[in-house]
Symmetry: C2
C-alpha cells in the first residue's frame, strides 16, 4: 500500500454562484502515477505557492494560519481568487485517506497551464523524514547571505519575498552549501546584517526570559509553528517578542531554535562553528506542547 | 493533431560503461497527458534547469551554446552528471516529430523525485507566441530592481544567480509589474546601479558604432542569441563589446534591444516612459540575419 495520498482539486477557484457542489470536484488520484502536465507553469517556472501542514495524532495543525498564509502568497503572486474551503477539504481528505496519523500534507497551487488562467491544485499526504535526531541531538547551522536588504519586500514587491512559492531552488541550494560546511541547516541574513529565517523554518532566539523571532516585515514568512510556540512560552511564563534581530545577537543568545511544521522544533547547538547554549529539557517541554496543541 | 511534441529522456545521466544504447531511452509521450509526478522536485521546489531552443526553417539554433549553458546551470545546482548527447538527441527528436518547422523546444532537467538522486528530463516542442508585433513595432520596457548587488554570483553562489533554473516565479512576477506600468518587458538593474538582463532575454545597447552587452560575471546568463548577434554586427562592420553598463547609459543609447531564442530580437522603443531611438531598418536586417544563421 502506498504511504502517500493525493487529492486533486478541480477547479481550485470558486464555483460560479448557483453551481451545485458535487463530489467530482475533489478527486483521489494515484501519487505514484504522473499527474502534472509538462506545460503547467508550476513545473516550467516554479510559478505557484504551497503550504505544508503537520499532522500529529491525526490532527491537522494550524489549519487556519496555513490557509491565511497561502492566501497571502496568492495575493503576492496575483493568482486568481482561490476557493480556500475546497482546498481545506482536500487537505482533510488527504489525511483521512492516509493510513497513518503522523504525516505531512503539502498543499500546492500552481498558476496552471500557461494561457488557461486556471490554477492547478492538489493536496499530497506523505510520511515526513524522521526528525528525532534533529529534535534530540540538535543541529549545526550556518548563516548565509540571502543577498537582499531587510526592507526588500517594501521596496521591490515583485521579488516575491514573503510569499511561499514553488521557486525554492535557492532554499535547496543553501542546504547543500550548509552540508559542505559541515552543517545541517541555514539561517538567512540580510545584506544589512539582520536575521531573517531558515530556508523552511522560523528562527527563535531566547535571551533570558524572552523569546524573540524576527519581525515579518523583512520579506520573511509568518511562522505557523512559531505562532503556536509563542502561545506556549507565554503560557509557561516567558515573554514573547517580534523585533529586528541583528546577526550578532545570535551568538550571544541563551538558546536558539528552528521551528517548522515538519520538525516542529529543533535546537541549534552550533552556529557557524561556535557552540550555542542548549537546554534539552526546555526543548523537550516545548516539543511535547507543540505536538499536543489543539490546532 | 497536437501542436506539440514530447520526448522523455530516461535516464538523463550517462549509462554505465558497456551498456548498449537502446531505443527505449528516448520515449515519445503525449504532452496532453500528465507526465510529471507530484513528488518531483521540479514541481515541489522549482529545483531544476532548462533551456529553450529556437527552431527556424527546421534548423535548431545555437545547439552547442545552449547545451554548454545547461551544463553550467547543472554544475551551479550540483546536479548529477548529465548525458548531454542523449539530451541533444531528445531535442532533435522533438523537432523531427513536430509537424511545423518554426517552433520552440524547451529542454527541462529536474532533480527528480526527492531521495532518488535520479534527474527527470524531457524535451517539449511547441509553437511559440507570435512575436511579429514585438519585432516590428517594438516594446515598452521598464527597469526593475533585482534586489542583488552586481557581484552577487561571486559573493553568494548559493543564490544560483547565473543559473537558468525552474525557479522563475520572479521572472513572471516582473512581467505583471511591467504590465501594471503599461510596459511589455523588463530590464533588471542591480542594487548598485548596473544593467543586468531581461527576465528571459539579453540586453543589447548601441552607442554609435558599438554594440554592448553587460558582462556575464554579474550573475546573469550568457545569451545564446546575443552571441550570434555579436557575430552578425561584427560582420556588418560594427564593434561588439562586453562591459559593465551603468543604468544611466540606457537612456542615452542610440538603440536598445532585447534578444532571446523565441523573439530573436525586439527593439525597445521606450524605457520607463522615455522614448528610445529606434532604427527599424537596422532591426529588420539583424532579425533576418538571426533567423537565417547557420546554427
Amino acid at each position: 500500500m502506498s504511504k502517500s495520498t493525493l487529492v486533486i482539486v478541480d477547479p481550485a477557484t470558486p464555483l460560479p454562484p448557483g453551481t451545485p457542489e458535487h463530489a467530482g470536484r475533489l478527486r483521489l488520484a494515484d501519487p505514484d502515477q504522473p499527474q502534472v502536465l509538462v506545460s503547467d507553469l508550476g513545473v516550467t517556472r516554479g510559478d505557484g505557492i504551497f503550504e505544508t501542514f503537520g499532522v500529529v495524532g491525526g490532527d491537522i495543525q494550524a489549519m487556519e494560519p496555513h490557509l491565511r498564509r497561502l492566501l497571502n502568497s496568492a495575493v503576492l503572486l496575483d493568482l486568481p481568487e482561490l476557493d480556500l474551503e475546497a482546498l481545506e477539504r482536500a487537505v482533510r481528505l488527504a489525511v483521512a485517506e492516509h493510513p497513518d496519523d503522523e504525516l505531512l500534507v503539502k498543499l500546492i497551487v500552481t498558476r496552471g497551464v500557461e494561457g488557461t488562467g486556471r490554477p492547478t491544485a492538489w493536496a499530497y499526504g506523505f510520511i515526513g523524514e524522521d526528525y528525532s535526531p534533529r529534535r534530540l541531538d540538535g543541529i549545526a547551522v550556518v548563516t548565509l547571505d540571502r543577498g537582499y536588504r531587510h526592507d526588500i519586500a517594501q521596496t521591490s514587491p515583485w521579488l516575491l519575498q514573503g510569499a511561499k512559492t514553488l521557486s525554492y531552488a535557492v532554499n535547496k541550494a543553501v542546504l547543500r552549501e550548509a552540508a559542505r560546511r559541515g552543517a545541517e541547516d541555514v539561517i538567512f541574513l540580510s545584506t544589512d546584517g539582520y536575521v531573517l529565517e531558515g530556508p523552511s523554518s522560523t528562527v527563535i532566539i531566547r535571551t533570558g526570559d524572552t523569546f524573540v523571532t524576527p519581525r515579518t516585515d523583512q520579506g520573511i514568512l509568518e511562522g505557523t509553528t512559531q505562532h503556536a510556540l509563542f502561545g506556549i512560552v507565554t503560557d509557561l511564563g516567558y515573554t514573547a517578542d517580534y523585533r529586528y534581530l541583528r546577526s550578532e545577537e545570535l551568538t550571544s543568545a541563551d538558546g536558539l531554535w528552528l521551528v517548522s511544521s515538519g520538525q516542529q522544533i529543533a535546537p541549534i547547538i552550533s552556529l557557524d562553528g561556535q557552540q550555542i547554549p542548549h537546554d534539552p529539557e526546555l526543548t523537550q517541554t516545548l516539543l511535547k506542547r507543540l505536538q499536543s496543541r489543539d490546532s
